[in-house]
Amino acid sequence: MSFVLSEDQQMLRDTAEAFARDEFAVSRLRGLRDAGANGVDAEAREKLAELGFFGVLIPEAHGGVDMGMVSMGQIMEMQGRTIAATPVLQTAVLGASLINMAGSEVQKSDWLPKIASGEITVALALDEGTHHAPLNVATEAEKNGQGYTLNGAKRFVTDGQHADLFIVVARTFGEAGQSHGLSLFLVPRETDGLSVQILNTVDSHGAAHLSLDDVSVGEAHVLGAADTAWETLERALDMGRIALAAEMLGTAQAAFEMTLDYLQTRKQFGQLIGSFQALQHRAAKMFTDLEMTRSCIAGALSAVDENRNDIAELASLAKARACETLHLVSNETVQMHGGIGMTDDHDSGLYLKRARVQEALLGGATYHRDRYAKLNGF
């Protein structure tokens, strides 16, 4: 594991930081929300593409810049700071890495350049229940003459409200709970039988429920070998969890800094509230959590680039710690701001709302604590 950024990585981090600060402030999300855009932001997407952010995990041969997970982590952390609504996690992390890892040469050259250029957005459609459970896939893919017929439903697919291409996890064999028998299908939005119910979510980032009724796709739409998608899927999920944890670190860090500023300006009883020791100790504990969680995320990011054998364990560590830290910080942010933090005009609420969505996506703290314990044999 490396905990020091290379020059390139540092440069990318600085770019992402400046971009988030100057063009991607929290006010942008607020504006999208008030305009009822439901998290869809075409202009931002263009800029992200110009900066090359969509291509960070894509080989140069397919139009990407191939800079790896540590670099992607810097982008995620910075977009997390301003709780920006972007398709980066679904499109540039999950979508790009799944196609890159499992796709045929044809599929790669068909889709990866379009992702890198920001021409299309992708969404992984996996969960069918209200809690992350990647093996509990009941959606069926039945072999027919020219390919497969898909039937089933997917819940709370983030970016589902605008994604051009869905990567649908379906079962070609076995039953819910089993890892063998899972397959990946590339399903364009306009495919017959695919209906999308758009959701207004608490974080104003939007999402969608999908239902697949006799959706028929050709052999060419099968991503990787049928029945055996699990290993690739789990690796991609772990990359997504680590990237999301990096985003959550940025969210927690920014909320913490906003709170720290308030502690240093707001007065009660003739004193700065930040001079009250009870608040000082709570702030110091948050800082301790943030620093330790930062280490877990930095380590997990570089573990992916080094292709270490403990990526699953480090991914669960990073996501669980990020959930715990952000949960604490988002609550303390509202509490330490007092009444003003309860008003819609203040950003505290936006951070709190986004936090719970980030916590739930790709598995919450209890999911990853359980997984971490299992990986450690108890």
Binding site: N200, T201, H209, Q335, G349, L352, V357, A360, G364, T366
Partner: protein, 404 residues
């Protein structure tokens, strides 16, 4: 109780039972819907017409304020009789006819601190629900430090002149009158505060609703510019307002501690463990499958049970004439924690179903729960922050000192 022989109480019970039977409309014996709560006042629309009848009849008897003196329109009942009325209403599941800050807060204070003329003038319309009152306490610069309030009140001979701003004024945009803390002497802190009441229709008064993170707007910012208030609307002594304020905060905290919190989200929401069973599932032994979540839910259930038993204990001990201030001091802090933990557990148990805001795709109870969870974050801020509660416990109850 000493005044009533059991027999007398029993005949009173029959009386009450018969009257309720005859006067409580059927519709008022069904569970209260969130949007049919009656707050009274000139803006009340009585979404359910029967609720108007019900309020009028109860107000007429003074049973909206059972223990208040009849001379001001109250029910004039003693503790034992009031308890019977309560029991009988509960028996037929009668809805409370009126929700009112006048009944819960201003009325009791006025009965204690107001002059005869003021009681005669204001109490009857509180009992009948004709006047809706709001509370003008907090200011942008005076939250936890309430006594730091700056709203200026000048003596102009024939009237008071008010200039300043209040915040967190509950339903100020719906209220007819306001009871308000103002500064009548800026050379001292607590001793420079007075307690004033005036009509919200007075020129110069403006109430702007505040939108909360939960999307609801139960509070307002209220602005006063050159508001003229008649001299006889000062309650208690000039610069004697802080005494009344403290008393009122007690009424507020005890009503909050009794569970009257914003943030449960309203009717139709299930318990955390019910949602966990639905959304997380149970193992073959019937345990919620997530042992981690299950343990935290159990901890919360136990906390809630312990809270209920503590309320019961302090009530019984108070009745037995024992000192319960120490025990009571923890209730507001504990109630806030209890409600917030419950809301967090519900949202966690709901999973992505608990992350909806509006529209289709999410169950109505789930969306309510999500809004309720957001609203609950205010529980540890409103009516005295948890930090202030802990300071009070440490200093007043445990006797720990300030830095010297």
């Amino acid at each position: 109780m000493a005044f009533d022989a059991p027999s007398e109480l029993e005949s009173f019970r029959t009386e009450v039972r018969d009257w309720l039977e005859a006067n409580c409309p059927e519709a008022m014996r069904t569970p209260l819907k969130d949007d049919e709560v009656v707050w009274g006042g000139s803006r009340e629309t009585f979404k359910n017409p029967d609720s108007k009848v019900w309020l009028e009849r109860m107000g007429e008897k003074g049973w909206t304020a059972p223990e208040w003196p009849t001379e001001y329109g109250g029910g004039g009942l003693n503790r034992a009789q009031a308890k019977i009325l309560q029991q009988e209403m509960k028996r037929i599941k009668a809805r409370p006819p009126l929700f009112s800050f006048g009944l819960w807060m201003f009325g009791p204070a006025l009965l204690e601190f107001g002059n005869e003329e003021q009681k005669k003038r204001f109490i009857p319309d509180i009992v009948k629900g004709k006047t809706r009152w709001c509370q003008g306490y907090s200011e942008p610069g005076a939250g936890s430090d309430l006594a730091g309030l700056q709203t200026k009140c000048e003596d102009k001979g024939d009237h008071w002149l008010i200039n300043g701003q209040k915040v967190w004024t509950s339903y100020a945009d719906q209220a007819d009158w306001i009871f308000c803390l103002v500064r009548t002497d800026s050379s001292v802190k607590h001793e420079g505060i007075s307690f004033l009441v005036f009509d919200m229709a007075t020129p110069g008064v403006e109430a702007r609703p505040i939108k909360l993170i939960s999307g609801s707007s139960p509070f307002c910012e209220t602005f006063f510019s050159d508001v003229k208030v008649p001299k006889d609307q000062l309650v208690g002594k000039l610069n004697g307002g802080w005494t009344i304020a403290k008393r009122l905060l007690q009424f507020e905290r005890s009503s909050i501690s009794a569970g009257g919190f914003g943030g449960t989200g309203g009717s139709g929401i299930l318990t955390p463990q019910e949602y966990a069973k639905q959304h997380v599932g149970v193992d073959e032994t019937g345990r919620v499958a997530d042992g981690d979540l299950r343990a935290r839910m159990t901890d919360h259930m136990m906390f809630a049970k312990a809270f209920g038993m503590t309320v019961q204990r302090s009530t019984e001990q108070a009745k037995a004439g024992q000192e319960v201030g120490h025990t009571a001091s923890i209730l507001k802090y504990a109630a806030a924690k209890m409600n917030q933990d419950k809301c967090e557990l519900i949202v966690e148990a709901l999973g992505t179903e608990g992350l909806g805001w509006s529209g289709d795709g999410f169950a109505d109870d789930a969306k309510k729960a999500t809004r309720g969870w957001l609203r609950s974050k205010g529980n540890s801020i409103e009516g005295g922050t948890s930090e202030v509660n802990l300071n009070v416990i440490a200093k007043r109850v445990l006797g720990l000192r300030e830095h010297q």
